[in-house]
């Protein structure tokens, strides 16, 4: 009987798809949730609720709950242009988004919590001077959110939660100055902008509703946070040593801002047949905030860099399944469909994300009464797509950069859950 169920589970797992996300959002905020397609807004399971729905923290069985983990993200992007025969692929370092969540029950109706996680980030590294190097050679951006939380039980049926967010982030972005400028030795002229320790504040708020013993409904909203880099450093190099050069070698200051968009999640979970749990989450990411990436260089004679992005709001549909196979072993699988926020003609190689499907799986193994090990694996599949970025400007003319992109990502995550 158990074998049969396992088989069913395996089939579900294979049929299911991956968990990375559109834009530079990272869906790796908890191994248990990730294993279930990154669902969790209505799942009361562990301190991972601190991210997915703080309102649910108050329904956790134990007084102290801690969940922590790290995920290795291996993403690959291949690009080719069949008009010219050019091709390239990224050599991305492994990304390592992490999370730490803790909640403590103060009284029967009040829990407090603390969370730290990395909801946004992207590392894309193309070979230097590749065909799209005038748009990007390397981008490495990361934002970390730190959040004190409160969770209040209004009744057994309804709770609310939330708290302020302190965001800190940094970005390193390297590209060539344009398609053709070189120094006297033929080295491509380059600019690297770097800004770190950019901070700002935001908030999140949520509720959870439990109409029956088996059914929960959850809602969570995380506000937009705009990271404004002021007085970052931009280094121009390999520029020809001439008064006729459009720019000169050296370091200049710059201002830029990058939005971390707001996100709304709503979903449900349903327990059935004693050992099974089904979860569904709907996410809406308000990417319209990302209009353009403008780099305003401090000296007036250095031309500013205007990069329209014009993202649109995007939805993600997530499905997860959990099966308590043995006393110590819980198996999970999930699937999600992630819509890309990138509009046609705005497909820039720095975030080459079209619609994707995530296939996830994982397990928890209860090592001791207090400790459990959480494992997740995710395969994120992007369809092959012909796309272009049409808003790169050269001498007043928009010069499209296009081709065929094919990407995927593999995530392997390890976490621990501690209850007291």
């Amino acid at each position: 009987m158990i074998m049969k169920k396992l088989l069913f589970f395996a089939v579900f797992l294979l049929a299911a798809s991956v968990t990375y996300a559109g834009g530079y959002r990272i869906s790796a905020q908890g191994q248990r949730a990730l294993a279930m397609g990154h669902t969790g807004v209505a799942v009361v399971n562990s301190a991972e609720l601190a991210f997915f729905n703080p309102a649910g923290l108050v329904y956790l069985e134990n007084d102290l709950n801690i969940s922590a983990g790290v995920t290795g993200v291996m993403s690959n992007v291949k690009w080719q242009n069949s008009n010219t025969g050019q091709f390239s692929e990224t050599d991305n370092p492994i990304g390592t988004p992490f999370y730490f969540y803790a909640s403590y029950r103060v009284t029967d109706f009040l829990s407090v919590g603390l969370s730290a996680y990395s909801p946004f980030g992207s590392v894309v590294e193309y070979p230097t001077d590749w065909a799209g190097s005038h748009l990007v050679n390397i981008i490495d951006l990361q934002a970390i959110y730190i959040q004190p939380l409160i969770s209040i039980k209004i009744s057994d049926y309804f709770s609310i939660g939330g708290g302020p967010i302190f965001a800190t982030g940094g970005v390193n972005f390297n590209r060539n100055v344009n398609r053709t400028l070189t120094d006297e030795q033929g080295n491509r002229s380059n600019v690297e902008v770097d800004a770190s320790n950019i901070t700002n504040w935001g908030w999140s708020a949520s509720w959870m509703f439990n109409p029956t013993e088996n059914l929960r409904i959850g809602f969570n909203y995380r506000s937009e946070i705009i990271l404004e880099a002021e007085d970052g450093e931009a280094v121009f190099s390999n520029v020809p040593d001439s008064a006729l050069s459009p720019i000169q070698n050296g370091t200049v200051g710059f201002d830029a801002s990058l939005p971390m968009p707001a996100e709304m999640s709503v979903g449900l979970s349903y327990e059935f047949c004693d050992k099974w749990l089904f979860a569904f989450d709907y996410n809406r990411a308000y990417w319209e905030a990302y209009k353009d990436l403008n780099i305003d260089f401090a000296p007036d004679d250095v031309p500013d860099s205007s990069n329209p992005r014009n993202y649109k709001n995007a939805s993600t549909y997530r499905f997860g399944l959990q099966y308590e196979a043995l006393d110590q072993l819980t198996l999970r699988a999930g699937y999600y469909l992630d819509e890309s926020p990138v509009r046609e003609g705005y497909f820039a190689p720095e975030t080459p994300r079209n619609d994707s499907q995530g296939f996830t799986g994982g397990l928890s193994y209860q090592i001791s009464k207090r400790f459990a090990l959480d494992v997740s694996v995710t395969y994120l599949r992007f369809k092959e797509v012909d796309a272009s970025y049409d808003y790169y400007m050269e001498d007043g003319t928009n010069v499209p950069f296009g081709g065929t992109y094919k990407s995927n990502a593999f995530l392997g995550g390890l976490g621990v859950t501690f209850n007291l």
Binding site: Q80, Q86, T180, E184, G186, A243, L331, G361, D395
Partner: protein, 521 residues
């Protein structure tokens, strides 16, 4: 439990190994076809245009953007092999012969007195031509080579360079002192070749303002000077020998014909009438008064069309020496004396203006004249002072193009243009005929560069034209192409190859190649 972990591990491994793959991968040669040709070993034969010469020099960056190198990168998509080039030692471009410089560095645009001007880039060149490179080279482009040089033994013998009997570029990479360019090319057993030769057979003459000799009728090229036009029969003979030899070795090839020199900025940039009132200032009345005497004499001698006058309101043509009109030095001297001028001055005027006239729209001033027009010709000053003319007067009579007629090498006269055009057309007929006869691909470089000059060529970032320095097609020497210009030619060659050999080699995006003037100090 252990079992499940094992399965999870297997699953994880399967996913890690799963790199994204295209349905049809460009990299894995699933998209393009070589058709009926083989590009396994491509050898390019020709002159400076094949070598990647630009900005008045051969330098590494230019070589990397040579059209054969661009072609070879595209050939790699259809089974093409590595492509080797006899790279120079630096990005300066100057040549040394036994440690002494024999040619200058490449030109870059830099600020001279606040104005952008092509000037040789600074630095000591390091390419010593007697350091012969080892190995064979797919790019057999030899800057300066004329058609008959490719089959001339000893053309790569460094000992002959100083005397002009050999070529310094070929001396760097020939396999032996007496080998010919064609022999070294064929020794590589090419499967495919390109041949673009003949340009210098007319260009040498044209670039020197027609100062050389049209050798039509002289069948012995060993007696030709570097600025002469090659005899058509000589061209036909050596060209067919070269194509025969290459085609006997390679299964396929492409021939390119010769552009009209007049499509290049070298002949189209300096106007015939650069002398504006601004430039001449308050000298105009004096000049016109002086030329007034001469103009009366010209009228008296029945050649009023030679009258020279500077406009106070518009641009005036430079004064040029036209060797194609009758030499009236003696008559002019006599007339001036008759008009009351002292004999010494009259003799100098007679000699200086006996074949002079003002340039008109039919005359092409060569690019190098721009730095000469309006400057004092010190050689002429010395000459006049030697003849007893006071220094001040000598100086006044020696302003290039204003008082001293521009010499032959700075002006391509209509009669000389005619010689160049006739020879170019004859050579091109031979080239196209040869391509048809051998079933080789053919590229009409002549009409292509004509199109660049007349209508321009659109690309994703704008239009390339033959405008000097800014047009995008021609480098700062006004004759050789920019990387973008070479990339444009490479695309045209690819199109012709695809048509002839049923291949589907992809074009390059010419916007990825630099069309801007090289800048530097």
């Amino acid at each position: 439990m252990r079992k499940y972990i094992k399965y999870a591990a297997i699953l994880a491994l399967g996913l890690v190994a799963c790199e994204p793959e295209f349905d049809e991968s460009v990299e894995d040669d699933q998209v393009y076809s070589q058709g009926d040709a083989s590009f396994e070993n491509y050898v390019a034969v020709g002159n400076s245009l094949t070598a990647g010469y630009a900005d008045n020099a051969l330098y590494i960056q230019g070589q990397q953007n040579s059209f054969p190198n661009i072609l070879a990168q595209q050939f790699k998509r259809v089974g093409g092999g590595d492509f080797t080039q006899p790279l120079m030692n630096d990005n300066l471009g100057g040549l040394l012969l036994n440690g002494s410089p024999i040619s200058g560095n490449r030109l870059t645009l830099s600020l001279v007195n606040g104005m952008p001007a092509p000037t040789p880039i600074g630095g000591a060149p390091t390419t010593e031509i007697t350091n012969t490179l080892s190995g064979s080279f797919n790019n057999m482009g030899v800057p300066g080579a004329k058609s008959y040089h490719l089959i001339a033994p000893g053309y790569g013998n460094a000992a002959g360079v100083a005397a002009g009997m050999a070529n310094p570029y070929f001396a760097r990479f020939r396999s032996s002192e007496n080998v010919t360019v064609i022999e070294d090319a064929i020794a590589q057993n090419p499967t495919f070749f390109s041949l673009w030769i003949g340009n210098n057979d007319v260009l040498g003459y044209a670039a020197a303002g027609g100062a050389g000799v049209n050798q039509q009728g002289n069948l012995d090229p060993s007696t030709y000077g570097s600025t002469d036009i090659t005899d058509v029969n000589v061209f036909a003979s050596v060209y067919s020998q070269e194509v025969d030899a290459l085609a006997a070795s390679a299964g396929g090839g492409v021939l390119l014909n010769i552009p009209n020199v007049t499509s290049t900025p070298y002949f189209n940039t300096v106007p015939y009438n650069p002398l504006t009132p601004d430039l001449l200032g308050d000298q105009i009345p004096t000049l016109n008064a002086t030329y007034g005497q001469l103009n009366q004499a010209f009228a008296f001698l029945g050649v009023p069309e030679r009258a020279i006058q500077f406009s106070t309101t518009g641009a005036s043509g430079v004064v040029i020496h036209d060797e194609s009109i009758a030499d009236l030095s003696v008559q002019l001297t006599q007339t001036l004396i008759g008009g009351g001028l002292d004999p010494q001055t009259a003799t100098i005027y007679g000699a200086q203006y006996g074949q002079a006239r003002q340039a008109n729209a039919n005359d092409f001033m060569v690019l190098t004249s721009s730095s000469v027009i309006g400057t004092v010709n010190m050689d002429r000053v010395a000459e006049l002072m030697g003849a007893g003319v006071p220094e001040e007067t000598a100086g006044q009579l020696s302003v290039n193009g204003v008082t001293y007629p521009m010499q032959d090498q700075y002006v391509l006269l209509p009669s000389e243009q005619e010689d160049v055009a006739t020879a170019t057309a004859a050579f091109n007929q031979i080239i196209e005929g040869m391509a048809a006869q051998k079933g080789l691909a053919f590229v009409d470089a002549n009409s292509l560069l004509d199109r660049v000059a007349t209508s321009g060529i659109n690309y994703d970032g704008g239009t390339i034209t033959s405008e000097f320095a800014t047009g995008g097609a021609f480098s700062l020497d006004g004759i050789h192409l920019t990387p973008r210009g070479y990339a444009f030619m490479a695309n045209q060659i690819i199109n012709s190859i695809n048509m002839t050999y049923n291949s589907t080699i992809p074009n390059v995006n010419i916007g990825d190649y630099s069309g801007g003037p090289a800048i530097g100090e």
